[in-house]
Point group: D2
Chain length 292, copies 4
Amino acid sequence: MHVGLIGLGKMGLPMRERLRSKGIQVSGFDRNPVSSDAGSLRDLAARLTVPRIVWVMVPSGSATSAVITDLAEVLSEGDLVIEGGNSRYTDDRKHAEQLASRGIRYLDCGVSGGVWGRETGYGLMVGGEEADVIEAMPVFDALRPDGAREDGFVHAGAVGAGHYAKMVHNGIEYGLMQAYAEGYELLESQDIIEDTGGILRAWQSGTVIRSWLLELAVRAVEEDPGLSRIEGFVEDSGEGRWTVEEALAAEVPAPVISAAVFARFASRQEESPAMKLVAALRGQFGGHAVRQ
Amino acid sequence: MHVGLIGLGKMGLPMRERLRSKGIQVSGFDRNPVSSDAGSLRDLAARLTVPRIVWVMVPSGSATSAVITDLAEVLSEGDLVIEGGNSRYTDDRKHAEQLASRGIRYLDCGVSGGVWGRETGYGLMVGGEEADVIEAMPVFDALRPDGAREDGFVHAGAVGAGHYAKMVHNGIEYGLMQAYAEGYELLESQDIIEDTGGILRAWQSGTVIRSWLLELAVRAVEEDPGLSRIEGFVEDSGEGRWTVEEALAAEVPAPVISAAVFARFASRQEESPAMKLVAALRGQFGGHAVRQ
Amino acid sequence: MHVGLIGLGKMGLPMRERLRSKGIQVSGFDRNPVSSDAGSLRDLAARLTVPRIVWVMVPSGSATSAVITDLAEVLSEGDLVIEGGNSRYTDDRKHAEQLASRGIRYLDCGVSGGVWGRETGYGLMVGGEEADVIEAMPVFDALRPDGAREDGFVHAGAVGAGHYAKMVHNGIEYGLMQAYAEGYELLESQDIIEDTGGILRAWQSGTVIRSWLLELAVRAVEEDPGLSRIEGFVEDSGEGRWTVEEALAAEVPAPVISAAVFARFASRQEESPAMKLVAALRGQFGGHAVRQ
Amino acid sequence: MHVGLIGLGKMGLPMRERLRSKGIQVSGFDRNPVSSDAGSLRDLAARLTVPRIVWVMVPSGSATSAVITDLAEVLSEGDLVIEGGNSRYTDDRKHAEQLASRGIRYLDCGVSGGVWGRETGYGLMVGGEEADVIEAMPVFDALRPDGAREDGFVHAGAVGAGHYAKMVHNGIEYGLMQAYAEGYELLESQDIIEDTGGILRAWQSGTVIRSWLLELAVRAVEEDPGLSRIEGFVEDSGEGRWTVEEALAAEVPAPVISAAVFARFASRQEESPAMKLVAALRGQFGGHAVRQ
């Protein structure tokens, strides 16, 4: 089995390493020739075992759509594309149909694990046809964490189900992070607490709230007590918003995940028009002094 | 009828004016001799019709408790104290009992209207005994807005009910202000909207969201388009927090009022420890760049 | 001036009445022949002063799009369509372009006021070209509340601005209603409060939270004390969700409006899968009894 | 070392077992004679090594206060009480002072781990004097999980710090549980998702959101797919509310933890007065049908 991997960035590069370390033959392609194994997509296609398996790992949105369009030209009937980026699940149906018109098969795969995945393996959530999933299983088995397959891999459902599950995963992630963050601030706010870092560390074993994110929080506070070197400015990469949008569409109450998303928006505002109006209203009715 | 009024500040002073303009004889007492009619509480007591009616309008908490303690000494059996400050309703029971031990009667009264009350009248919410409420009705009628009594005055229930109703009023106020504020920010964020101030103004008549707070918002934006002279730093004076605490105690879901309170807290933070942790966590697992 | 009005339902019918009562000649069209003045759209067009003004007041989405498509056939170059339904502002651009290809002009108009508008007038928010707005002003003036034009009418900006402003209006409406509702429940939960209806009524004059929605709350509680005849099952008609979606797109924190939307979702659930999982988790780690 | 343990319920009984299995001699006391080793507190005191160490593990509030009062009579100067229940940290100062007046020392200890602690060890957060903590370390070491002490034990600060840290721990727990719960409901709501249980299971390894709570969720869904045997009725035991109260007092924004608390309140309501009012308002202004 010789598979292709398109996109050798922060995620793709360590994935190529992990695949190779697990005995999967991989040729990678990237527009950056330094890391690329192939000179072009056509060159890449020529190197692979037929029917080909090509994993796409480029930024979601237009970059992914462009690669899919190119692959429709370059690949042959019966080949299989696995789209592993952080795409919105609604894009999967379009991509699957686009490739199906050329007889090319399609799986979508949500990949979790961040920069740690090279070492510990990646959590994988896959959508598509059962037969295609089985055919690609050696690739999935190489990427996922060691141990029972079911603990780090799932065939979640039809095309799109993998990215939908990954989106929900990230929505949950937003909520978890914000919950720890509020607790952290409550510890920092209380005078009788003398060792916030020690408390986080002590929560790692035996408690109800132990988790991998907590371990990362322990590391972060050990590396930088008081987090004095970090600004409270938090980006969001889309999945949190999509989760709230899906909650709206499905009429699912999502107060915690939406609060976590909005806290990030607020963290990025130098000025809040909303809070300016609230301050102005207090000045209007109460003669309350406002900061000018 | 010659009544006493203790506390001649931002609220008490215009209340004395309104009472006098409505034909109620009032002597005021304040520690500031410039506005005070009486030189001492004892002097004040000597001027009033017996049984005396004394309205207390000083800051809630220790200032109010100190005045109640002093009045227990200075007043006589059968006198009536009306506590009109922004006290927590749980303080009313203590104050009522303290005075009752001297045979002095007690009403609590929530007062709304801010600096506009002198002119338009004050919304009044009263707690205590029916007979006491009836006795003090001329004072209430002078302070409340003109028109039907029931539209600006209520005997809400037993001692504490007036301040409880006022607390809930303020909790609602927090929610209303934040709702308008979020809407305002959404208008300001959208390029095709050319006239935010005009939209606020046009909402004043015929729409579902017309209100007095909206009129104040119109004034604020007319006086300072873009609210460029105001900082989005919003104080809170206690009742919002109490409302959330009462919601917790009574197991009443209060997501909107609590969100409004927390938005004010966040507006006052130069740095958010919570969001620093979220940023740090993103850096830990994702290799996401963080602002340092 | 003889204008057309398409859609004679809960909103359109009283609007025709108000227009006529203000001296505007109107022919209405509805698929229901009982209320329709014209037998067909073509018949309607034949009756109107040229260049024609046609107001569309049908349900948003496919119904509105179908009418726009039909009007593109029936109307002539230079005619003016005013789309007054509860459409999403993103639909306006499509409709405007569709009509522009035939030389037909387009305004979008958000209309607030509900069933009360016949009597009090409708709050109007308009998007489009200045010249078109001026041409249609007699119609707007007839529909809006009496008094200063600026208090019930606004030209908010380019095409789509009217419906965007109306969407934000409705988002605010959700937040306001939920704030009053949480306060109402807090009054109902407290034993010392003896007269919830009286408190609502007394808030109508002099207080900071006086509003038209509060007046409606007073009516509702007077008609049905304790609201014993009403189920706490709350529909939403779309604009609340859109407002949250726009907040996500524009990165505007909207914790209050989103909390109000989610409270409606939760009100309609007979069973909450989320809360079942929380209950199950408590059982798992704490041996807490769960209801089965 | 022969220590005392008061309270042999759902927590105390397995703690006695774990202590004994780790070689600590323990006499337990409970009002229930079946599990009690001693016939009375005085009897218990007589059995222990002097200076005595007595661990109190009874329900927080009046039960704990009563035991502290009894211990002030029964113990001697120099003895040490460790209060391990789920007390509010503000109670600790009172209890410490009460015992200090008799020369008895006091530590507070937050204990996490639920029914699993017997086997895996309990996460421990302690408040009080360093010397007292060191003296009691053999007990803490027996109760905490095996491995590095710092991963399951912390001396968090002065008296009260242990229970404060435990309160924050539980507040975070509420937020984490609600985040998973919202994600679970989003999976259940989506047709293309065919294997919710499998997705939860696959998140256990390699993903960012892996945690002990997630493992419990996997168990819960495996035991009862669809959670059909569980009602979405969720109790709360106090710490979540206290966390929100502390956030209010410390002016810490806590939107996620409060949303989680309010979701539990709502889950227990058969009828929501708030949502009845929202429904009534929609009926009033829009003529929207309401369920009666």
